[in-house]
Each structure stands twice: as structure tokens, then as C-alpha cells.
Symmetry: D2
Subunit: 264 residues, 4 copies
């Protein structure tokens, strides 16, 4: 059966309670709309613009929270790793290891992730031509791991600005399933002085557009109070909008899949 | 009633017969799928990469053909003008004057078009921020003409390449109705040495994506034999694909309109 | 003898007195530093962001002022034209016809300029790959006019921002002599809402860098009171800095020419 | 005394003999032209496009070679690190730790480098606005290490292409000394299918231009037989051109420094 995947959750593991609030509601809405749901939260924000920004409640503590959330909600988990030494420990907790966009060319990190046997989700670098992502996929496959997908999250269009080149979605689908990252695609890197800004208002437009091309899944960060989120607040989808967002996305996705193979 | 507009036809006025072949079929398919149809053809390709390329069968002859096509098919007409002196004569034949993308900042041209009283369709320059198109619209309105729309056709993303920033569609809809140019959005300027290349294979993906954002119309160039078209062959939609293309587009458009006001 | 050309003057023909003040001083400093001087001023700002901005004191009046300035100072003149019908009249007054960047692909305008027999100076479009400027040069040469040069003024690097790709200078010198436009290279198109902004502070850095590559001339707009200039104030070089600017530029230019043919 | 720094050597530690051949000649030419010389070679190419490309002769072996070269030539050493665990071991051998461009936002890597007490040289990411590099510098300084410099190596201008925005040099010099990377600035990422291409022919032009802005040093990779180099062959400066290159660079640098504070 053909169902879209939804990777969603808070940006960072802020606390068990917030993770549960977000995860339980999102799971319900996701399932009602026919998405396969994977809970997402970062255990460490390792590349914040400034070192004064929030990073983590601690790696061990974060992983523990993630594990509890996964069990309580009975859902698979995804989180991102930043150095190869983290792969093994993190893989004991989560089902999908995400490779951050800046790191999509780091061979050791890709290999370490691949060797855990868990699924590997690679974000396209903001500087990478879509067709060059085939080499990142090949690095994972060459390590014997075929469970790999790619994620689109915007390309540098001048300073402090990203553009989503929708051509990248069908291009990358030649190599692996493709997920659209709704939240980071409307980020404005470094656009607020010492931190990144965002344009939440464009999220529904870009999400529908990406869905319409015919893809495999979506990645959305959400929070009950975006202005209090410890990172990426300006580009999060508010939790109270998620239900409607998923309904809309499902309809757009169905149209996109129906015509995904229409060629001229 | 809310219907999408379709501006479509050959790139250039090649001959009366080709115009009629394209126009009659496209009109039928457009109407069957609920589009308001406007026949499009250029009377002069005034900015070809090289002066060895085809320009025109002659301005007077082209306008005469256009006029006959409009009458025979009973459809409105659109064509583009390049210098202000052309506005008046052309306006006697067509219903919509199109301002080419490179020329979207030329005040005299915008004013000359506005003053004819005909509708003015302005293409966003490949170098213009979406929000700056409000000034082009204001120039037309200040001349007393409120019948103006904007067209998206891609932004320069490095040399010989364009990207469609889907954010530009809702941004420009704040100022005027917005049309998506399917054909030139997959152009590769100067990408074939002395002429422009194209990536027809991406046309259905970008067209669905643009439609999904919720817009007002589409612009498509088509030809029964794209490889023999006198310009823009690599990015035209083949005529025998147009029927399916319009069916698909209508469905994508309906989904896009349904959610055009969904905000987060 | 190998001398750099300097095209310099106010952005627009504001008045005879201002033209004379700027022209007489600039001529003196240019000659003292070994530049061939050409007085520059626009008779019409035909593509302002907003139609509320200053355009002109009138085309006829402007040309008359230009002519008087040329005679009084005994210097050649350059100005820009925007539609083909202007070429002939303007060519009766000036020695060099400049084709604006947005219009560098308009075949009729290039031909009309070429056919006057006057020198033709073509600005590279903010959207044109450097190597594609060869076709603009060819259009002029094909009309029998060999007196053509190219000008660099920055490429679109995202919205409201230009970058000077210094590779464009040696690339374009393969086709024709190359002039660096100091003033518009630090423009920020539409960067101030309804008008363009600028980053005057970078002008000396970019000018030295361009000179160091080994080029043929420079284009600089200047004004005794930039904040009162009727256009492009934020990116003008103040007149009281021009003497030092030209001294610096001459030294950079000499170094650049010395090594222009050094290859690896 | 004000002298430019020269970081130069082969791209990778290919062998002791090649390192000595390159290092001994480059040292001689560097000193003759007044540069402070630092020998450069990578012990591991950790982010090659494809995993089939050469990476390393082994980390331990490479560091051993580097150490011998440093002693024999009596010169300081620079090499790049890719994960934080490498910082300490590598710092025992080299004097300057280089942070790769893709990794310039990885807080842990910056901190690990800073904490060794060695000099830290950070390359600007191909996706980072120049002014945002101040945060990378701050991360190092906040760890108590003031010996930090920045390096320019081009910004993404569309796919498979980099542009050097010369404005970044004076912008980044507000935060730390700035080095221009001649070799990677003419790289074409992924431009040759499974590996990166290069445009060596532009290296002298960009190097003179960067020097003319007024900077602190240069980074150049060189090889006696570029076509046999194990990485970055298409953009290396051939060893037999280095003497002339350094002479030229010194002259351009002197001009640039003379006018570095000229403002308008």
C-alpha cells in the first residue's frame, strides 16, 4: 500500500512532557489521514549560529526521553547525528538516523550511520546540486545498507535566503525515496543576526507544491507555542494547525502521486 | 465563477495554419477542462541569444495572422511588445499586451501598454525580487489601467539556469492575479551555446507545484513538432500531450484553490 | 600607448552647472593620472523602481546640456539609450552609446546603436552568463560596427543583491575591451523598498580587485553631494574622493595590466 | 613588520618525497618574496564526492610524514580536521588546525580545535553570508583561543559553480585576519560527474583581485604534476608556476595593503 511518511515532532528534545504532548496528538492526526508516523526530535543542536543558543538537555538524557516517547506512543523514532562516534549509541534508540544537510558529504558519518543497519535519512546540503546526492546514497549502499532516503530543505539563493528548487524532488527520486522538509525550507539562515529566522507563512504553499510533484514523505517540526520553542521558532508549524495541515497535505499528496509519472 | 485562465499557443506566429491547428485543439481541450482560453503567439522574437536565430515572419503579417486566428476561433489574444511605439498598433489586434521579463522595469513600455486600455500581463524579470513587482503593477495602475496581471517564469540561479521560487506566487498575488509560465520556467538561458536550452521533462512537476500553491492561470507554449518549432523547442509541451496536461493541471489547480487561504 | 579609459560623471543630467562642476574636476584628475576621460550622464532614468522617482529634466534639454558640456570641456560623451528610436538623435550628440544591462539582449536596440557608427558600450545583464555576452558583441559587429566594448556591473546573487564575479572580466575580454562599473556593482536593486540601495563602502575594494585582473577602463558615477543626487546616491563616489580614487585606481590598473597575461 | 602568510603544499599527504619536493621549493620562493610560509597537506580527504576517490595513506602515517616535513624544512604546519576527536592528536603535530568549509558551523569541532591552544583557521562555508562568520570566530574566542583566522573559498552561485564575492574579504577582516584560498575558489563542486572540476585558468586573476582588496594571506595547493595529483588536480597551481605566482602575488598584495584603508 502506498502511504506517505510523516517525520514530525519538536525541533529539540525539550522535555518528556512536551515530546508526549506533540507526539500523541501528531500521531493521532497522522494516522487519521493515512500517514506512516515517525516521531522526530534532535538530541543536540550541534550547529547553532551562535554558541549562546540552546543546544541540548544532554545527550544521554535526550536519548532516554526519546526512547520513552517511542515506547509510550508505539512509534518509530528519527534523530540526527553529527559525528561518527554517535552513530552506534544513537542507533540503539532510534529507527532512522538523519544526516544533517551541512554534513551530507562527510563520508565517515555516512558510513558510520550505514553500518548500524538502521535506516539513513540524508538531507541535501544547501550547496549541493540535486543530482550530486546520488553519491551520498551510493556511499550508504556501498556499506551494505539499502534503507536510505533523501530530504529536500532548500538551496542557497544569496545570503540569508533559501529557495526550494522543486526540480530537485523528481531528480533525487531517481536515487532514493524523497522527503520534503517543510520547516527548514522556510528557514532564513542567520537572518536574525546571531540566529536563523524563518517565514512560517510560506510553509503551506511550499508543502502543497512539493506534495504535488509526487514524493514519498514529509518532515515537519511543530510546537504548541512556537515563540517559546528553544530553536527554529519562526519556521515551526504551530501544533494547533497540524491537524488541518495534514489533511491538506494528504489531499495534495494524492494528487501528486496520481500524476507523478505523467511525462511530456 | 472561479476559473483558471490559460494563455497558450505556439512560441512565435510561424504561419496561419500552424496557429489554427494549435489554437483549435487547445481551445477545445481548455474549454472541456474549464479554463478560460486566450490564444498566444509572439509576432517578433526580439531578444534571441544570437542574431542568426529566427525572429519573425514580419510584424504586420504576424498581426494579421493573429487577428484572423482570433476571429476564426472566437478567442481573445495575447502577444508581447518590446518597444513603446508598438503598443498602440498591437493593441488594435490583441486583448492582452504582454511585457517581457527583461523589460519589466521599463517605465515607458509599461505606460504605453497601460494607456492602450487593454489588459497588461507583466512577466517577472529573472533578476527581480517577487515583492518588487508591486512597483511594475503600480506603474500600470497609476496610468489608469487596473487590468493587470503578473507572470512567474523563474529566477537566475547561477549561469544558464533558472529556478522557480514558489514563494513568489503567493507574494505576487498580493498585488495582482498571477499566471505561471510553464514553458519558460524550464528554459536554460544560453544553455546551448548560441541559443537557449530547456528541460521539458520538468514541466509537469513545476506546473502541478505552481498550481498547488493556488494561482489564477497558466501560460504554456506548445507545438505539434517541438523539434521543428522556430524557437524554444526544448521546453515546449508537445501538442499531443496538451490534453492530458490540461486535465492534470485543472485537478492540481482545484486542490490549490481549495487551500489557497490556509495559513499557519 | 596603453591607457585606461574613464567614463565618469553624475548619474543623471541634473543641470548644466552640476555637470560642469563634476566634469571639469574629474577631467583634470583623470588626465593627471593618465586616464582617457569620457564624460557620462544619463538623459533619462527609464527604469527606476518606482514611477514616483526622478526621471529626467527632459530628453531634449538633457541632450543640449550634454552637448554644451562636451564642447566646454573638450571631452567625448557617453549616455544610455533605452529604445531604438532614440539612437539616431542621441548619436548626433554623444560619442559612445551605452546599452543598459536589462536591455543587453534587445536585438533592435543593439542594431540601432550599431548603425549610428558611434562606439557601443554594452552592460552585461545581471542575469547573463559572461560568455553569453559574445552574442551581444556579435550583433553589433554583424551590423558593421567594430567599436564595441562590454561593461561589468554585477550578477544577481539572490534578491536585492549583486555580486561581481571577477572571472567575468577575463572571460568577456576575449570578445571586446572590458570596463568595470564601480558604481552599479555596489548597487542593491530594490533594496530600499521603492528604490535601490547601495554599499558605497565596498566601491574601493571592488574597483582595486577589478583593476588587478587587468582590464581596459572604469565607469564611475560621482556627485558633490551624494545624498542630494537625484538617483543612485547610496552608491556614488563623492566628488571630493575622486582624486584619491583615481590615483589608487591607476596604480591598481598598472599592476593588473603587468600581469594580465600571466597564466598557469 | 607586515608580511603576508602563505599556506601552501599538496592537497593531500601523498608521500614524504612529494611533500619535501613541494615544500622545499615553495619555502624558498615564499621566503625570497617575503611571505611567512606554512606547509599545508591534508591527512584525510573526508568529504570526497564519491567514496571511490582517494582519501588517505592513513591518518597515522600522514601525520608522521607531516611531522618529518615540518622538522626537515623547519616550517610550521597546517592541516584540516573533520571530527572533534581528531583535534588533540593532530594538534600534537601541526601548528594550525583548519576547519573545513562545510563544517564551519559545527560547534563541537570549533571548540575542540580551540581548546588545543593551536591556531584555528576557519574556512567560510559555501553557504554562509560573510558577516555570519563572526559567530564562528566568537565560538573559538569564547573558548579562550584568540589565534583565529578566516578563509575565503567561494560561495555557491547555482549548481556546480562557485563565485568569490570580494566584498567578503573586507567584511570578514572586521572579525579576524583573512586568507584567500586560491585553489578552492576556482573549484567546480561535483562539476565532473562523480568528482569536482576546476578552472585553474582563473586562479591568477582571482588571486590578484583578492590581494588587491588588502588581505593577510593566501592558501595555494600545488603539485609538480597536477594531472597526477590524487585530488583537486584541475584547480591546482602547477609547481613550476609557483615562483612566478608568488612574485606576482607579492606585488598585488603590496598594492592592496597600501590602499586597504582608503574609504569613500
Amino acid at each position: 500500500e502506498d502511504r506517505p511518511v510523516l517525520f514530525a515532532g519538536p525541533c529539540a528534545v525539550e522535555s518528556f512532557d512536551i515530546c508526549m504532548e506533540i507526539g500523541s496528538k501528531t500521531k493521532e492526526w497522522a494516522e487519521r489521514n493515512g500517514f506512516s508516523y515517525v516521531f522526530k526530535a534532535s538530541f543536540d543542536k550541534a550547529n547553532r549560529t551562535s554558541s549562546n543558543s540552546f543546544r541540548s538537555i544532554g545527550m544521554d538524557k535526550s536519548l532516554e526521553v526519546l526512547q520513552r516517547v517511542g515506547k509510550e506512543l508505539d512509534v518509530p523514532l528519527v534523530t540526527d547525528i553529527h559525528e561518527s562516534y554517535q552513530a552506534k549509541d544513537v542507533a540503539e534508540v532510534v529507527d532512522v538516523l538523519q544526516i544533517p544537510a551541512f554534513l551530507c558529504r562527510q563520508t565517515d558519518l555516512l558510513l558510520a550511520a550505514a553500518e548500524t543497519g538502521k535506516a539513513v535519512k540524508i538531507k541535501r546540503g544547501q550547496f549541493m546540486a540535486p543530482e550530486d546526492m546520488q553519491y551520498a546514497v551510493s556511499k550508504v549502499r556501498a556499506a551494505g545498507n539499502d534503507n536510505v532516503c533523501l530530504t529536500e530543505r532548500g538551496y542557497s539563493l544569496g545570503y540569508h535566503n533559501l529557495v526550494v528548487d522543486m526540480r530537485s524532488l523528481p531528480t533525487m527520486r531517481q536515487y532514493a525515496p524523497v522527503v520534503f522538509d517543510v520547516t527548514h525550507s522556510v528557514q532564513q539562515p542567520g537572518g536574525q543576526g546571531g540566529s536563523s529566522g524563518g517565514q512560517r507563512q510560506f510553509a503551506p504553499f511550499l508543502a502543497r507544491a512539493a506534495a504535488a510533484t509526487g514524493i514519498d514523505g514529509f518532515f515537519i517540526e511543530t510546537h504548541p507555542e512556537p515563540s517559546k520553542a528553544l530553536s527554529d521558532g519562526p519556521n515551526l508549524v504551530p501544533l494547533d494547525k497540524m491537524e488541518g495541515f495534514l489533511e491538506m497535505l494528504k489531499e495534495a499528496w494524492e494528487m501528486g502521486r496520481k500524476y507523478a509519472d505523467f511525462s511530456v
